[in-house]
C-alpha cells in the first residue's frame, strides 16, 4: 500500500466529490452543535438557521441540560461509564479464560457450551428480554454494579466465539514449553496466552464498548429506573416527557453525550476501525 501513488485527474474529481459527501455526512452532527447554542424558540422556527445575535444563547442550554428532567445528566453519564467499563472488563477476562479452556480441554461439556454460545448469537434480545428482567430483578442484578453479570451472560456468545477462533490458531508449543518450565495453568494463561490474545482483546473490547455504551433496552428493563439511568435512557426519557418544552437543552444533552465518544474515536480510530474489520471477518 505504501508504494508511490500517482494521482490522476479523476482522482482529484473523486476527492472533491467525497469532500462534499463528507460535509453532507457531518450535517446532522453540525445541526446538533448549532441548535445547542440557540434559544428554544429559534429552533422551532427554523432549525437550519445559524445562530444570530437574537437567537444566540451561549452555553445556557448546557447549564440547563445538566439538571434538565429532574435527573442530573452527570449521574447518567457516570452510570453509563461504570456499566460500560465494568461489563467490558468482565467480558474480556471471563470469556478469554473460558475460550482457552474450551479450545484446549475440548471435552463434551466444553463442546456443548461452545455450541450454545454460537447458538446464542442468533437469538434476538426480544426473545429473552421479559424473562431476563424478571430473573435479574429476583437476583438483585438491577444496579450498575451488578448489571455486568447480565451483560456477561447475554454477551458471552460472540466474545467466546471470537476468542476460541483465535486461540485455536495459537501454536501449542509455547504453552507446552511454559508447562515444562513449571508454569501452572493460571500462570500460563495470564503470562503466556493473554499477551498473545492482545489483538483479539482489542477487537472484542471495542465491539463490546460500542454495544454497551449505546444500549438502551437492556439497562432500561433491568436497572431500577427510579435510581439509575444511563445516557440513552436519559435521552429517551427527556424526549418522552419534555419533548416540546426545551429543545435547546435537549440538544445540549445530546451534544454532551456524543462529544466524549467522538473525541475518543478521533484518538484511537485506527484501533477501532481495525477492530471492527477483524471482528466482522470472524463473525
Amino acid at each position: 500500500m505504501k508504494e508511490k501513488v500517482t494521482y490522476t485527474k479523476s482522482s482529484y474529481f473523486l476527492t472533491v466529490l467525497f469532500s462534499l459527501l463528507s460535509l453532507v455526512w457531518l450535517f446532522p452532527i453540525f445541526e446538533v452543535v448549532i441548535n445547542s447554542l440557540k434559544r428554544n424558540g429559534a429552533i422551532n422556527a427554523n432549525p437550519f438557521a445559524l445562530p444570530d445575535a437574537d437567537s444566540f444563547f451561549g452555553l445556557s442550554n448546557y447549564v440547563t441540560g445538566l439538571t434538565f428532567g429532574n435527573y442530573p445528566f452527570l449521574n447518567s453519564a457516570a452510570y453509563s461509564l461504570i456499566i460500560t467499563v465494568l461489563s467490558t472488563f468482565l467480558i474480556l477476562l471471563c470469556c478469554s479464560m473460558t475460550a482457552w479452556y474450551i479450545a484446549r480441554v475440548d471435552n463434551t461439556f466444553a463442546r456443548i457450551f461452545y455450541y450454545l454460545c454460537t447458538f446464542s448469537m442468533i437469538v434476538p434480545f426480544q426473545m429473552v428480554m421479559f424473562t431476563l428482567s424478571f430473573t435479574a430483578d429476583r437476583l438483585k442484578l438491577n444496579t450498575p454494579f451488578t448489571i455486568p453479570i447480565v451483560y456477561l451472560g447475554f454477551g458471552a456468545g460472540l466474545a467466546i466465539f471470537m476468542f476460541v477462533g483465535f486461540v485455536k490458531g495459537l501454536p501449542l508449543e509455547i504453552e507446552e514449553a511454559a508447562a515444562i518450565d513449571g508454569c501452572g495453568p493460571v500462570r500460563t494463561f495470564f503470562w503466556v496466552v493473554l499477551p498473545m490474545l492482545k489483538p483479539t482483546l482489542i477487537s472484542v473490547g471495542i465491539l463490546e464498548v460500542m454495544w454497551i455504551w449505546n444500549d438502551y433496552l437492556l439497562p432500561y428493563l433491568v436497572l431500577d429506573q427510579t435510581k439509575y439511568k444511563t445516557i440513552p435512557i436519559h435521552v429517551q426519557y427527556l424526549k418522552g416527557s419534555y419533548g416540546a418544552v426545551d429543545l435547546g437543552a435537549i440538544m445540549a444533552v445530546i451534544m454532551m453525550s456524543i462529544l466524549p465518544i467522538i473525541i475518543l474515536y478521533l484518538f484511537c480510530q485506527k484501533h477501532i476501525i481495525k477492530g471492527v474489520a477483524a471482528g466482522a471477518v470472524k463473525g
Partner: protein, 310 residues
C-alpha cells in the same frame, strides 16, 4: 472464508492435538476458568430463553402466577393485525436497507481504495455515526425531518411513508460506514497481481469489477448482507426514538395499529397493553426468534455456497 475452512479441516481435532501436558492441569482449574462464565451464561441467556418458551404458552403477570393456556397466545399473535403490519413493515424495511446500504457502502469503499487524496479522512467521517447510539440518532434525525417537513406544513409522525423513509435514511447514514470498513478490508485483500493480469489482458474497468473484484470480495458481501439483514430485523432503538410507531390508528374493535412499527417494537408494545397480553408478547417473541434464526441461517447458507464456486 472458504480456504479458512479448509485450513481448519486439515488440523487434527482438538483432543488429538492437545497433549495431556496441558489438558489435564487446565481441567483441574475448571471452576476458575469456565464456571463463572457458565453461571452468568445460564442467568443471562439459557434460563431466560427456556423460561421464555415456557411462558409463551402461559397467561402471566410474573413467572410466579403463570397459568398454562396452550397455544392460545400463538393464535392471538397470528390473528393480531398489528403483528402482520409490523411483519410487512420489517420485511420492506429490510429489503430496502440491505440493497441501499450494501450498494452505497461498496462503492464508497471501492472509491476509497483507489488512489485518492484524503481517503483516510473520509473513512473516519463515514464511520463516525456508528459511535452514536440508536436513541440519540433517532432524536437528531426527528429534529431534522421535522425541520424540513415543517416548511410544507406537515410533520414526521403524520404519515407512515415519511416515517418509513426517515428510518431508512437514518439507518443508512448509521450503517454505511460500518459496512464500508468491512468492504475496504475485503478490497484490500484482492491480490494485486490478479488486478495487474486483468489490466494486461485488456479488461475494462467494469469487467475487472464484476469478474475479478466482486468474486474476490464475496466473503465481505456475505458478512455485510448478513449483518444488514439481522440488524434490520432486530431494529428497535432507532424505530422507538424516531417515530415510536406513529401514526397509530384505532380499529373498530379497539385494537391499535401502529403504522411505522417494526417487529421488535411491536413485541415490546404488545407487552405493555395489559397483563393479558404478556403471554401474547412472549409468543410473538418466540415467532420472531424463529424467523430471525431461519433467515440468518439460510442467508449464510446461500451466500456461502456462492463463495465455494469462485
Amino acid at each position: 472464508m472458504s480456504d479458512k475452512k479448509k485450513k481448519k479441516a486439515k488440523r487434527p481435532s482438538g483432543s488429538a492435538v492437545t497433549s495431556n501436558l496441558i489438558r489435564k492441569p487446565i481441567q483441574r482449574w475448571a471452576p476458575l476458568f469456565i464456571l463463572p462464565t457458565f453461571v452468568c451464561f445460564c442467568i443471562g441467556f439459557i434460563w431466560p430463553f427456556l423460561q421464555g418458551i415456557y411462558l409463551s404458552f402461559c397467561n402471566f403477570m410474573t413467572p410466579k402466577d403463570a397459568k398454562w393456556v396452550g397455544i392460545t397466545n400463538y393464535v392471538k399473535a397470528f390473528s393480531d393485525p398489528s403483528f402482520g403490519r409490523a411483519f410487512w413493515n420489517t420485511t420492506g424495511f429490510a429489503v430496502v436497507s440491505i440493497v441501499l446500504i450494501n450498494i452505497i457502502a461498496f462503492f464508497i469503499a471501492y472509491a476509497l481504495t483507489q488512489a485518492m487524496r484524503g481517503a483516510n479522512l473520509f473513512r473516519t467521517v463515514f464511520f463516525m455515526p456508528n459511535l452514536i447510539g440508536g436513541v440519540v440518532l433517532g432524536y437528531i434525525w426527528s429534529m431534522i425531518f421535522d425541520g424540513i417537513l415543517h416548511r410544507y406544513g406537515t410533520y414526521l409522525e403524520a404519515n407512515a411513508t415519511y416515517g418509513f423513509w426517515g428510518l431508512v435514511i437514518l439507518v443508512a447514514w448509521q450503517q454505511i460506514g460500518y459496512m464500508m470498513i468491512i468492504y475496504i478490508a475485503g478490497l484490500q485483500a484482492v491480490p494485486g497481481d490478479m488486478l495487474e493480469a486483468a489490466k494486461i489482458d485488456g479488461a475494462s474497468g467494469w469487467k475487472t469489477l464484476t469478474k475479478v473484484i466482486l468474486p474476490n470480495v464475496m466473503p465481505s458481501i456475505t458478512i455485510c448482507t448478513f449483518l444488514t439483514l439481522t440488524n434490520s430485523f432486530k431494529m428497535f432503538d432507532q424505530n422507538l426514538a424516531l417515530t415510536g410507531g406513529n401514526p397509530i390508528t384505532t380499529l373498530a374493535d379497539g385494537s391499535k395499529i401502529a403504522a411505522t412499527e417494526l417487529l421488535a417494537l411491536n413485541i415490546y408494545s404488545t407487552y405493555n397493553i395489559s397483563r393479558n397480553w404478556h403471554g401474547v408478547a412472549q409468543a410473538k417473541a418466540v415467532i420472531f426468534f424463529i424467523l430471525v434464526a431461519v433467515l440468518a441461517l439460510s442467508q449464510l447458507y446461500a451466500t456461502r455456497s456462492k463463495e465455494v464456486q469462485q
